[in-house]
């Protein structure tokens, strides 16, 4: 396990080295400005967002016991997107900070609604009501978002940039709050690790071991919401990390969530920084946004994982 963590750490160092080399090649004018003005915030952002998404994905898969679950299932991303679109459509918002705040509010509201719908019925014994409520709410929010975007040019233009998911063009001002949010999410995820281990044995045995289902679900959902909302507000909705990072991490450190959660976070960092660098290198002057790179490469990587290591059923 130590070896796995060490190798992941070395991986991210290698990436950093690559970034510095890249910065050297790029910068005819002022190296410092590029490294400190753009590369460092970008890398810090990548670490925070990648870790948050990796951990959120692992919590999500543990909660739903579904290897195909990603944080989007609870409606968090859809809620954030709709809030941003409404902000642009109604209020003509264009500051990145306000956009982030809107995304956060949307994410939190969506997950609270999903939780309320899921608990209104038979309760929390099965993860299915949460997943169904999440999928339904996501679809509804997505439809409203599409409607607003398609009826208004300005909104479409603003939404188009935000929805791709990118680490560039953001500075570190005002992100402190979002980073705190992610930190809270990480603490909650840590507290949820033991519960996830119990839930993996089925809800009856988990309860027999003294697990409170209500608390386990609430803490888990709060962790996912804080982590995803923080990540989405910082970098837009970035896909695939929440889905794939837990699989790679599980192959490396096994199914114990006390090890799986941090490992999944580190894999997330590695994937996000790697994709960001690739996006910078292949795009030339234009740069390909990290969300696009991940969607492209992530799909291929996921297929390879599925084909090679037989997917672990949860």
């Amino acid at each position: 396990m130590l070896a796995a963590v060490a190798s992941l750490m070395l991986g991210s160092n290698l990436i950093s080295a690559g970034q510095v080399v890249h910065a050297l090649i790029d910068s005819a004018a002022d190296l410092d400005a590029i490294v400190w003005g753009s590369r460092v915030p970008r890398t810090v952002l990548g670490i925070v967002v990648g870790f948050a998404l990796g951990v959120a994905g692992a919590v999500m898969q543990g909660q739903t016991r579904n290897p195909l679950a990603d944080p989007g299932i609870f409606g968090v991303s859809a809620g954030a997107s709709l809030a941003v679109v409404v902000g642009v459509y109604v209020l003509r918002v264009n500051s990145p900070l306000v956009t982030s705040a809107l995304a956060l509010v949307g994410a939190v509201v969506a997950s609270v609604v999903v939780f309320a719908i899921a608990t209104a019925g038979r309760g929390l014994a099965s993860p299915v009501p949460l997943a169904i409520a999440g999928t339904a709410v996501s679809a509804l929010l997505g439809a409203i978002t599409s409607f607003l975007v398609l009826t208004d040019q300005t909104t479409l233009a603003a939404y188009r940039i935000w929805v791709v998911g990118s680490l560039s063009g953001r500075n570190l001002d005002g992100t402190a709050a979002m980073v705190c949010l992610v930190a809270v999410g990480l603490v909650l995820a840590g507290l949820n690790a033991g519960s996830l281990n119990n839930l993996a044995l089925g809800t009856e045995l988990a309860r027999g071991l003294g697990e409170s289902l209500w608390r386990a679900r609430l803490v888990g959902l709060a962790a996912i919401t804080f982590l995803t909302a923080g990540a989405v507000s910082l970098a837009g909705p970035i896909g695939f990390i929440g889905l794939t990072a837990p699989h790679l991490a599980r192959a490396l450190v096994g199914g114990d969530h006390r090890r799986l959660l941090p490992a999944s976070g580190l894999v997330g960092v590695l994937a996000l920084l790697g994709a960001d660098v690739i996006g910078r290198l292949i795009g030339g002057q234009a740069e390909v946004a990290v969300g696009v790179v991940l969607a492209t490469l992530g799909g291929v990587v996921f297929v390879v994982i599925v084909r090679r290591a037989k997917l672990v059923a949860l």
Binding site: A200, G202, L205, G208, E211, G255, D256
Partner: protein, 280 residues
């Protein structure tokens, strides 16, 4: 001393009431098996004993205290329940699985200790799993996996253990293996065992007491010889059967009759005379 006690317990799901005021006391240190036809409520009653099903009315007492007055963790330190179909977690070693039995004894203030490790090792040894302790549980055979589940509830170190059909899906030798283990735990540690079994002869062989449930009532309750009579079998299971003494252990053995092999009445008479001989 009474380990588990049901008082005027009313149990059910949605609109269907399964038990309407059932009373039952389980003595400490005994092995009790609940038997009855499919759907008679054996598992329902066991779940209520293990606080997995909240009673509609009445109450369950554990070591004299009402369950609802105890926190779920307090209960988990005094009573372990192995449900019928636990889920096998992904990418988890046998030792890691058994370690989860220590969960009720841990908290942020009291993390993992060498004592816990010792208890897990003992549970692995008792179930004969020490050699496969580092293997992924998903690679175990059915018998080994079932023993791993038993090891998990053993590691919980509770004075009472509830087992819901611990031998389902196992071949005969593995069924015997699990039930011998249960009997040994009871003998060595004085653990109170309440379980649900389908095989009547095995239930008779490994239990101190059998409780037959039928239409929301206790139909018969007592030692295997007192309970396993052709009348009880006919009422509870709609089964015509003869009960003979197992030539090896002397416990009652249920032999189902072919429908044409004589009337129920004659088999009853035959059996009662045989019982009298045995008891006399």
């Amino acid at each position: 001393m009474i380990a588990v006690e049901a008082e005027r317990l009313r149990l059910g799901y949605e609109q269907k009431v399964v038990f309407d005021g059932i009373d039952l006391r389980i003595a400490q240190g005994s092995v009790t098996t609940l038997i009855g036809a499919n759907g008679c409520g054996k598992s329902t009653l066991l779940k209520a004993f293990g606080r997995l099903l909240a009673p509609l009315d009445g109450q369950v007492r554990l070591d004299g205290r009402p369950l609802r007055a105890m926190s779920t963790t307090q209960i988990a330190r005094r009573l372990a329940i192995l449900p019928q179909k636990p889920l096998t977690p992904a990418a988890t070693s046998v030792r890691d699985l058994v370690m989860r039995g220590r969960h009720p004894h841990q908290s942020l203030l009291r993390p993992w200790t060498p004592d816990d490790a010792g208890i897990v090792d003992a549970a692995l040894a008792a179930t004969g799993l020490t050699e496969v302790a580092d293997r992924d549980v998903n690679t175990l055979s059915g018998g080994q996996l079932q023993r791993a589940w038993v090891a998990l509830v053993l590691a919980q170190q509770t004075p009472t253990i509830l087992l819901d059909e611990p031998t389902t899906f196992l071949d005969l030798s593995h069924q015997l293996e699990v039930l011998r283990l249960v009997r040994r735990i009871n003998a060595e540690q004085g653990t109170t065992i309440v379980m649900v079994l389908h095989d009547l002869s095995l239930a008779a062989r490994f239990s101190d007491r059998l409780v037959v449930l039928h239409e929301g009532q206790v139909l018969a309750d007592g030692t295997p010889w007192q309970v396993l009579t052709p009348q009880v079998l006919a009422t509870a299971f709609g089964l015509e059967a003869q009960v003979i003494a197992d030539p090896v252990t002397g416990s009652p053995l249920v032999i189902p009759l072919e429908p044409s092999a004589g009337s129920l009445a004659s088999s009853v008479v035959r059996d009662e005379s045989e019982q009298l001989v045995r008891l006399g």
